[in-house]
Amino acid sequence: MGQYFMFTILSIVTLVSAYQMVRVRLITHAALFMALAFTAVAGIFLMMQAEFVAAIQILVYAGAITTMVIFAIMLSGLADIKSERAKKGGLWTKSDPFVLVVGAVFAAFMSYLYVAAKLPQAKSDKAMASVEAIGRSLFTTYMIPFEIASILLLIAMVGAIILTAKEAEQE
């Protein structure tokens, strides 16, 4: 029962945050709601005994990405970027609650698939992989993707600099 309770709470937090992301006018608020959603998902990860993933989730998503987004918004100093005015007459104008409906429909559909597949109940209730096992795999089997990921990050960095640096040079 505890699991149900926990899951329900976390789910509600996640969904409400996501819904608020749609709704709120200020982007910064949306970013904060995003962090909240991420954190709630991290909670679910914890429930799944994926502590490592949960930790990374908090670090990378709730921490790094959210911070980055907010920084970017602040840095640009443009009013427009910070808030989003509701448009008149657009197809999507009054669609805020719709987001839940669409999400629900999609989820229902996927669930239908899962249920149709008659996914077997859990075969094992073993502990999830330890950080050590993850680390070991990461540096043996997954060495190549790991290295590529490093280059990916390098390029992301380079790219971000290239795309934004010009201004600095000139100023």
């Binding site: 969904l15 987004v69 990916l152």
Partner: protein, 107 residues
Amino acid sequence: MTLPIYLPLGLGALLFGLGLWGALTRTNAVRILMFIEIMLNGVNLNLITFSRYYWQQNAESAARAPIITLFIMTVAAAEASVGLAIILNVVRNRGSVDVDKINLMKG
């Protein structure tokens, strides 16, 4: 776990769907970016759920889903940084992040 697998999977799908809808309806590029991250979270949730319920035969297989998730997060971060850089560039040149106004090319 006694929780039926359908619940976390459903939540994953719900997150994905929400993110998708948000990404498709919000016109602020930054917000779209954020919704994409939500979608990725849905995926991650799926992965971890499946792993948790089924794929724990040994350390190797148990580590698989977390590692995939790890990579996805890495990529997401990289994507976010590049994406934000692009958005900032657009803002600089056009003074707007409204994707509906970014419409020089069509047809």
